[in-house]
């Protein structure tokens, strides 16, 4: 470049910028909806024109147009690249969303999942042509049952909540096989919302078990509620307050004595993988979120995978398909008609589950090895405790440490400041952080649940701690400037959720009003 005559100093350029002509701001582009771009007749995929005879369409040929916009490939690519830049992601920063285990997603996993031998095979092609895929699933099953100390595993559930349903349906089937019709499921009040929702979906009534002032499930209250009508308890362990249930063995015993089953929500397995086996705790069924503990990407809200490990007692009721291995190799038993033993409760979904996630999870496991999985859990727990220890003097921790892989705070440190948990979270956005989980669990007021995972360096944790310490200090000092109206430096300021819910606009139409014309 010719620098002749080009000013290179920046003096006097720091004043506030006027609004831009384009509405974009440097690297931050405003981007309309795909439906507002493009033109008729354009396409980004080259396909031939083909004449179609009506004779085989059963008189059902489409009459009207669909209404899709037409764009070339570069326009589509630019549109979605611009959208991507409006998202926070693990790859760009610490993502301490409690209960979600936002750990690093290795790209090796992505590469392996795209091997044609896994990605380009059909669920119903002859089983002898997919022996490698079945071997992979079998190996993943071995890892899951070994790490959990459980008897067997059902691979088809598609996410955590789907796994919960799978576990409860197996429990239901086991009860029926015993000739019992137990109706109640006990769920701690600190549980994830999916637990009671799943119990209701599986046809049970839900009864809440209170928490103690120490953040544990009230084991005495639980035992008092057990009876001949209780089918199961659904317990998250470590629990959503970030604590291991100290009386879990006692509770498991009481549950067993009462003839009920112990369902464990495995969302927090990342705290204990490689150190504690749920099978040793008396668990009968537990789902494992492969997208949490085993690093498959969260993808903006899925896809996940929720395999369910079973105790020996529940194993016979696991759903179809069942993977077996004999002299002829691996084989899926897909239909009841082909069963030799067992009494599966049914089928969770079409085909065999989230193969793409299985490949990624196994790539992660093989990379870590059993020693690495254990080290990862230890680092996750260490990092959470480091945050707890570094913040508990300026923020309020409702329960004394040590915690497991999540550090829980309530909003009492904000008492009298006028700053809410929500304000505090939004101020974190301006500081370049994704906020922690807010207002969950419900058992503490204004909850802030921080899960750093094992993926952060100490320097990263220290920066995060520093920012939170300063924010807490400013809130207490009555300096609300950083909180009122935050965030300011995100692609959007706070969004009006009330308006969205009052008169829902859930799709684009030609007539969708532009923002400022409405109301």
């Amino acid at each position: 470049m010719n620098n002749q005559g080009r000013p290179t100093a920046v003096a006097g350029m720091a004043e506030t910028a006027p609004a831009t002509i384009s509405g974009d701001r440097g690297l931050d582009h405003e981007e309309g909806l795909i439906f507002e771009l493009g033109r008729d007749g354009m396409t980004g995929v080259d396909l031939p024109q083909t004449q179609v005879s009506e004779s085989r369409l059963g008189g059902q040929r489409r009459k009207g147009a669909i209404g899709l916009p037409g764009l070339s490939e570069p326009e589509v690519v630019r549109h979605y690249v611009r959208l991507s830049r409006m998202n926070y992601a693990i790859d760009s920063g610490l993502y301490p969303l409690g209960s979600c285990t936002m750990k690093h997603n290795p790209r090796l996993n992505e590469k392996m999942a795209r091997l044609p031998g896994f990605a380009d095979i059909h669920p119903l092609q002859p089983q002898k042509t997919v022996q490698g895929a079945l071997a992979l699933i079998s190996e993943l099953m071995r890892w899951l049952t070994t790490l959990t100390g459980m008897h067997s595993v059902a691979m088809s559930p598609k996410a955590g909540a789907h796994g919960e349903l799978c576990g409860l349906l197996a429990i239901r089937a086991a009860m029926e096989a015993r000739g019992e019709d137990r109706k109640r499921i006990l769920v701690p009040e600190s549980a994830h919302g999916t637990n009671p929702a799943t119990a209701a979906l599986a046809g049970f009534t839900v009864e809440e078990v209170p928490a103690t002032s120490g953040g544990h499930v009230d084991a005495d209250a639980l035992e008092a509620k057990l009876g001949p009508d209780v089918a199961a308890i659904m317990l998250t362990n470590p629990n959503t307050c970030g604590l291991f249930e100290p009386r879990v063995l006692e509770m498991a015993n009481a549950v067993r004595k009462a003839g009920a089953y112990f369902y464990c929500d495995g969302a927090n397995f990342n705290a204990i993988a490689g150190r504690v086996r749920p099978g040793d705790l008396g668990v009968d069924a537990m789902h494992i979120n492969l997208h949490k503990t085993f690093s498959t990407p969260h993808g903006g809200g899925g896809p996940g995978a929720g395999p369910v490990v079973f105790s020996k007692a529940l194993a016979p009721f696991a759903p179809l398909p069942l993977l077996i291995h004999d002299d002829a190799g691996f084989r899926y038993i897909e239909n009841r008609e082909d069963l030799e033993t067992g009494s599966p409760f049914g089928r969770m979904c079409a085909f065999h589950g989230q193969m793409g996630m299985f490949v990624r999870a196994l790539a992660y496991m093989l990379s870590h090895g059993a020693d690495g999985v254990r080290q990862a859990s230890e680092d996750a727990v260490l990092s959470a405790n480091y945050i707890l220890a570094s913040l508990k003097d300026v923020m309020s921790a409702p329960f004394p440490g040590p915690c497991m892989h999540e550090a829980l705070f309530d909003d009492s440190f904000l008492d009298g400041t006028g700053v809410t948990t929500l304000d505090f979270a939004k101020a974190m956005i301006d500081e370049g952080y994704h906020p922690m989980t807010m207002y969950f669990p419900l058992v503490v007021h204004g909850a802030m649940l921080i899960e750093p995972t094992e993926s952060e360096s100490k320097e990263s944790l220290d920066r995060f701690i520093h920012v939170l310490r300063v924010l807490a200090g400013e809130a207490k000092a009555g300096n609300r400037a950083r909180f009122d109206g935050a965030p300011r430096f995100a692609p959007r300021r706070r969004l009006d959720e009330t308006r969205a819910a009052r008169k829902p606009i859930l799709r684009w139409t030609q007539k969708t009003p532009v923002a400022d014309a409405a109301e």
Partner: protein, 448 residues
Amino acid sequence: MRYLPLTPADRAQMLAKIGVPDIDALFAGVPKEAIVSRAKFDLPDTQSEMDVERAMARMASRNVTAGSVPFFCGAGAYRHHVPASVDHLIQRSEFLTSYTPYQPEIAQGTLQYLYEFQTQVALLTGMEVANASMYDGSTATAEAVLMAQRLTRRPKAILSGGLHPHYAQTIENLAALQGTVTRAPVTPGSAEDIAALIDDQTACVVVQSPDVFGLIRNLRPVAEAAHAKGALLIAVVTEVVSLGLLEPPGTQGADIVAAEGQSIGNGLNFGGPYVGLFATREKYLRQMPGRLSGETVDAEGRRGYVLTLSTREQHIRREKATSNICTNSGLCCLAFTIHLSLLGEEGFTRLARLNHARASALADRLAAIPGVDLVTPSFFNEFTVRLPQPAAAVVDQLANWGILAGVPASRLLPRDEAAENLLIVAVTETVTDDDCADLAAALKKVLA
């Protein structure tokens, strides 16, 4: 270990700050008897990226990939060409490594593509509103049945004999808890009198079109019969490309549409992850399961998007929620949305016509083989033929010759004599004329 940034020195400093002597002290809350040693796990130790790659590539090489042979399998999962830019874009870190858009100010990318996805699904199906996806077509269908049971406060679901058997089993698994499920007899390639089964206890009728054998069904009379008795019609689509050529369920009177969206943007992946499409009428919105992205404004009046109507959902409503679903199929929606945006109206309808034309040509070719009959008089890109002998053995033999000839109906309907000789054959734009010639020649040979 390459994924773990903490050094031994970091760990020591952190333990010191916490005020404990070692890591074991942090697990003090765990009962002693529940702590296990490393020795208890008969599993390998850490491996390098290269070693993992080698081990996994070895497993992958033991599978016959669809792209390496003449390939005709369908029955609910279809092999289409996905443009390279789709897979590139969905691997952008900001899409791949974010989660559910709980903080809308820093998740507009996700919220906007979900809003675009919802719009595309509503347009394709001819419905008024769509959600931000379910796990897959089968679970979307089961949720649709539960929704119909809630809306009508009636117990009974009637399933068409042409509904994919896996879908029927998925529904039975759930809906039988709240009511009853009746399956109409399987009548491959011919109409069924499902209207006769509808009574005043019927919540819904579930009809797939094109059905599992490929037959295109007329939904209008079923919708009329259902509505006359106060029941709902749930239309199921497992091959969403068909909507580029066929009348959408929405204009035929469907109340809920549940579909498998895998065909657009997503590979076969041995059955998952896929993406469930779910659309309905606006008046039923409050009973719809799943997440919704809605338009709103921010504090400066700029248009933006948020998750909305979450009072239907489990994290707010707990046991009173419309569904227990939480994580859905975000990234698969994105792949769907990008692929469909690339296609546009012109590309999508061309794709649909091309699929039908190819399938039609192969159907003629196979039906000309002595002993082979075309069972489905109408179809989109998948049809069923009756062979003079059990189809499973034929498929097995053809696989030995390097041809994946389709799905024998007996794989889905075991011990059903009427299904034993039926072969379900799918033909998409990825199938070449040579592939078709190979299949016809091999079939002729095996049947000779």
